[in-house]
């Protein structure tokens, strides 16, 4: 009886997404940050129905971010007037859309649960400012400058494989992307502009080699790290002094 119930429950879930799974793949599964890392490329692809569209969303974990707010003091000076903390802001938000879906506008994207207004509604700012919308726009500009937030209007390409459409998104991960676990969501949009299915997977960004060693030293052995940093700097200074002395310049 218990098994029958489980089976019925599983069938009900499958009925919510009637037209089969997307089964997308992403390469690579793990991105390693080594000494010469300067950003990375990731390919996300999969099959969808011939009359469907794919939307790819990449989301970083929620974080607490601290900012300074500038304002006018005494009517002439522009300087910091408040310190703000942003809560529940994803560290990364990337959205890849096919061109014709992007042209439908922000309100349609919002109905699907995509785009910056969705981020705006989940973020809380402390202390609450009077002009949250304006401050959020500046926050977006900072994130977009670091390439951590972006919406690619022409970010999905299609090729036909029999009666199936294969979508492909090339994701450029910026150098500033922090190590961690990231969520990939692929949405299948039908011709009636309804979401027919969604599939989720994850990828990881990890430090390796020298950056990993430095990071572990800095966070796990901070006092030793500080002392070593000083000793190496002093030695480098002495070394330069010694090298230049030999060339006879310092007298």
């Amino acid at each position: 009886m218990k098994h029958v119930k489980t089976l019925i429950f599983a069938l009900m879930i499958l009925m919510c997404f009637p037209l089969g799974a997307i089964a997308f793949t992403h390469v690579p599964k793990t991105i390693y940050i080594g000494t010469t890392y300067n950003g990375a490329k990731m390919h996300i692809s999969g099959e969808i129905g011939s009359n469907e569209d794919a939307v790819v969303q990449i989301l970083g974990s929620d974080q607490e971010a601290h900012f300074k707010l500038k304002g006018k003091v005494w009517g002439i000076f522009w300087m910091t007037v408040a310190h703000l903390t942003f809560k529940h802001s994803p560290s990364v938000y990337m959205l890849y859309l096919p061109h014709h879906l992007a042209t439908l506008g922000e309100s349609q994207l919002e109905k699907w649960g995509f785009g910056y207004p969705v981020i705006y509604s989940r973020i809380t700012i402390e202390p609450p400012p009077k002009n949250k919308q304006q401050i959020f726009e500046d926050f977006l500009k900072l994130k977009q400058k670091d390439k951590l937030y972006k919406i690619e209007d022409n970010g999905i390409t299609y090729t036909m494989r029999g009666d199936k459409k294969v979508f492909d998104a090339v994701v450029n991960l910026p150098p500033k992307i922090p190590p961690g676990r990231y969520e990939i969501k692929v949405y299948r949009i039908g011709p009636d502009k309804h979401i027919r299915g969604v599939e989720t997977d994850y990828f990881e960004i990890k430090l390796k080699g020298f950056p990993l060693f430095i990071s572990q030293m800095a966070f796990n052995h901070s006092l030793l790290y500080g002392i070593l940093a000083v000793i190496i700097a002093v030695m480098a200074g002495f070394l330069m002094g010694f090298l230049f002395k030999d060339k006879g310049g310092a007298h």
Partner: protein
């Protein structure tokens, strides 16, 4: 190509750019005896380094550059160790007092306003005074420079000189060629330490004029002694920042100091070739330029009202 990942800053940088930046600031450090933090930190922020990491890693690189500069100046006989140690003790006490003052100011609100205004006034006053004084001195003196500078240490018996002489614990500072109470460098060290802590900088550009005008030290000894003092201040800052805030990016500091230690050596050579007044007038110009830049940023509307927290 030529990129390197900075694990604490969480960004990658062009190696050549950072080496060049280090070289340029190291050159200034070797010439004028300033740490160069007031120039380096904003430039690093401009290249995408988080403000807190930029300031802390810069302290780490200043350790290397000032070691290099101090060694070179020591060989030239330009480091007054006795004076440097007294200033350093004062600076540490002053820094501690300054940190408490800044806490009180933050609690009262509008601390940033006071910090910025102090910055602009100090830079403006120090830069203008040094510029005018050295310009007059340059015009006057066709006579020998440096020997005169040392010989003319006790000028007229002004109130200030009489005050200096009246203080207890008089001692002779051989390298600087001055005799004064130990309380003078100690007290002025405290003063600079307080200002440096409030303004969030190393204090080299305040310390140099203090040594020249209030301690009456010859300019070349000032440069060497200032570097000696900065070295110890930055050692303390680097260890404290590593331990408490985990903001020192050693990879960034290493790249910067590769450039800055070489720059500091060339700077020392240039410093040697320049006259005391010439050094003062160039430093005064840089200080005034920084003041103007700061004033412009205070008066013009920023492109974005929001900035990442931290840094100077």
């Amino acid at each position: 190509m030529f990129h390197m990942y900075l694990p604490i800053a969480g960004n990658s940088v062009n190696i050549l750019l950072i080496l060049g930046l280090g070289g340029m600031v190291g050159l200034l450090s070797g010439i004028f005896g300033v740490g160069g933090g007031f120039l380096m930190t904003p430039l690093l922020i401009m290249f995408g380094i988080p403000p807190t990491v930029a300031a802390a890693s810069d302290s780490n690189q200043i350790v290397g550059a000032s070691t290099s500069g101090t060694v070179a100046h020591y060989r030239l006989g330009n480091v007054d160790v006795k004076m440097g140690i007294l200033l350093l003790i004062g600076g540490v006490i002053g820094g501690d007092i300054g940190v408490h003052i800044i806490k009180v100011l933050r609690a009262l609100g509008n601390a940033d306003f006071l910090i910025n205004i102090t910055y602009v006034i100090m830079l403006g006053f120090v830069g203008s005074y040094m510029f005018v004084e050295s310009l007059q001195s340059l015009k006057k003196s066709k006579a020998p420079e440096e020997t005169q500078e040392i010989a003319s240490t006790p000028p007229k018996e002004s109130i200030y000189v009489r005050f200096m002489k009246s203080l207890p614990f008089q001692m002779h500072f051989e390298k600087s060629g001055v005799t004064m109470s130990a309380f003078m460098p100690l007290g002025l060290g405290v003063f600079v330490g307080i200002l440096a802590a409030i303004m969030g900088v190393g204090g080299g550009f305040i310390m140099v004029p203090v040594m020249v005008y209030l301690l009456r030290m010859p300019m070349h000894v000032v440069v060497g002694t200032s570097l000696f003092q900065i070295l110890f201040t930055c050692i303390n800052v680097t260890i404290m920042q590593s331990y408490s805030n985990h903001t020192v990016d050693f990879v960034l500091a290493l790249l910067l100091l590769l450039g800055s230690t070489v720059g500091a050596q060339f700077g020392t050579r240039i410093s040697k070739k320049l006259k005391g007044d010439q050094l003062k007038i160039i430093l005064a110009t840089i200080v005034l330029l920084v003041m103007v830049k700061m004033l412009v940023s205070l008066l013009s509307k920023p492109a974005l009202m929001l900035t990442y927290a931290g840094g100077h």
